[in-house]
């Protein structure tokens, strides 16, 4: 693997690092808003991956100028436009859910929600146990 390879792949590697930071934020943090932010980073990095692959050295934006030019690949751009929309849709829904969760549980920390649910569940189970006796 030569210097050229490293330079040629550096972009992808950096993007991968970004993705993984995003993913790690999602899976490791317990705050629901933070998770959504992590998800955003994860998705944005994937967008960068797509756009990176469409880039042509010496190319320019795929808007015809009338002159003979090298254009970067427009297709990834189109795909990512769609993906961005999907991303913002997910974010909006996720945040709406967070608001509702806060309303219902009065917390947006996963651990505390879990604790509240467990309490309810085991409380119920215990009550049911009593009922059976």
């Amino acid at each position: 693997m030569g210097v050229d390879d490293i330079l040629g792949l550096f972009n992808y590697w950096m993007v991968i690092v970004l993705m993984m930071i995003g993913l790690y934020t999602v899976v490791s943090r317990g705050n629901l808003v933070k998770k959504i932010v992590g998800l955003n980073i994860f998705q944005t990095s994937v967008f960068l991956l797509y756009i990176s692959m469409g880039k042509v050295t010496g190319g320019t934006a795929p808007i015809l100028t009338g002159k003979p030019e090298v254009y970067s690949n427009p297709l990834p751009h189109v795909l990512i436009l769609t993906a961005i929309v999907v991303g913002v849709a997910t974010t909006a829904l996720g945040l709406a859910l967070v608001v509702r969760i806060k309303n219902a549980y009065d917390t947006i920390e996963e651990d505390e929600i879990q604790a509240a649910d467990d309490e309810k569940e085991f409380g119920d189970a215990a009550a049911a146990e009593d009922g059976r006796r």
């Binding site: 590697w13 930071i21 317990g30 934006a61 254009y71 297709l75 709406a96």
Partner: protein, 330 residues
């Protein structure tokens, strides 16, 4: 190393730092600000990578709408993240392995910027070569977006429509009744009010420009819709939600959301009348290019309508919540 590479690398490093800071910080407000910065920087990178349309959108979405929504959420929930209590080992391992797999996958990739990469020689060249003759507009991205892969975009509009409906469904029950509440607008911020009033007109003009200039430069329905919605949001922020609602009532917004999708989907049906397949715009005009042009204009308008309406209604839904943050969470 060329200047391009330097820019590329420095922006990527920038992104890395930002992302890491997001991971580390527990003050959620800072996290939201940083995520907005992340979007800004990645948009700059996108411009650098020739994806101007994408950059446009990413900026509008990431730095604009997402940030506003996240702030609204923070205002309703909590400003601080609690310290993590669980073990972080397993997530770390999983993520590390995933990353390793991806890096492994890069080894056989075509190198960055390689003009001979498979994607540069298979499907895409046709778009670059034929857009002018088949569609007749200079912005290839718009041509692919609205025509060659127009159905994806219909799907995209549907996605945003879904999100709009979803947010309404989730938050609608909690929207406050208008009467009997003290309306707090930024009345005493004279400077703000004046500047905002001054700016709203130009912003809307700008939105129209982006909408109809999308065939020729970066932009299009989606970006225009976002800008249009921004004008509304800033109005609502400064002059109060009630006043904004008076200008455009919630139910009207909801119907506009639907209208955009209907417009897009409806245009597709016209081609049935001429025995063509769905979304073939060529039948709309006297010749193919004219038809495509008109078709793209129409569907972009549909996109813009839906996006703007969804954004406004989503903002209404979030901002209209009647449950302000408690002192404990502030």
């Amino acid at each position: 190393m060329s200047i391009a590479a330097v820019i590329d690398i420095s922006l990527l490093v920038f992104l890395g730092l930002t992302a890491f800071a997001i991971l580390k910080l527990r003050a959620l407000f800072a996290v939201v600000m940083l995520s907005s910065v992340f979007s800004l920087v990645s948009a700059a990178l996108l411009v650098h990578l020739d994806a101007v349309d994408v950059a446009f959108t990413e900026a509008a979405v990431g730095a604009g709408i997402s940030t506003v929504l996240m702030l609204a959420t923070l205002a309703l929930t909590s400003r601080r993240e609690k310290a993590p209590t669980r073990s972080q080992a397993l997530p770390l391992i999983v993520v590390f392995l995933t990353g390793l797999a991806l890096v492994y996958g890069t080894l056989d990739m075509p190198r960055f910027g390689d003009p001979q990469a498979p994607i540069q020689v298979h499907v895409a060249p046709k778009y670059i070569a034929d857009t002018q003759s088949e569609i007749g507009i200079p912005n290839i991205v718009t041509a692919v977006l609205a025509s060659y892969r127009g159905f994806d975009t219909l799907g995209e509009v549907t996605v945003i429509f879904t999100a709009g409906i979803g947010v309404l469904l989730l938050l609608a029950g909690f929207i406050r009744e208008p009467e009997g509440l003290r309306v707090q607008t930024m009345d005493h911020h004279l400077v703000l009010r004046v500047v905002t009033k001054m700016l709203i007109g130009p912003i809307m003009l700008f939105a129209l420009y982006v909408q109809f200039h999308g065939d020729f430069g970066p932009g299009g329905g989606f970006q225009a819709g976002l800008i249009f919605a921004s004008a509304f949001i800033i109005y609502a922020l400064v002059f109060g939600l009630e006043n904004a609602r008076k200008a455009v009532p919630g139910r009207a917004v909801r119907l506009l959301v639907a209208c955009g999708v209907l417009l897009y989907g409806g245009v597709g049906f016209v081609s049935f009348l001429f025995g063509k397949n769905y979304l073939n715009y060529s039948v709309l005009g006297v010749d193919q290019v004219a038809g495509q042009h008109l078709g793209i204009l129409l569907v972009e308008f549909g996109v813009g309508l839906t996006v703007a309406a969804v954004m406004v209604s989503t903002f209404y839904a979030f901002a209209g919540q009647n449950q302000p943050i408690s002192d404990e969470d502030w």
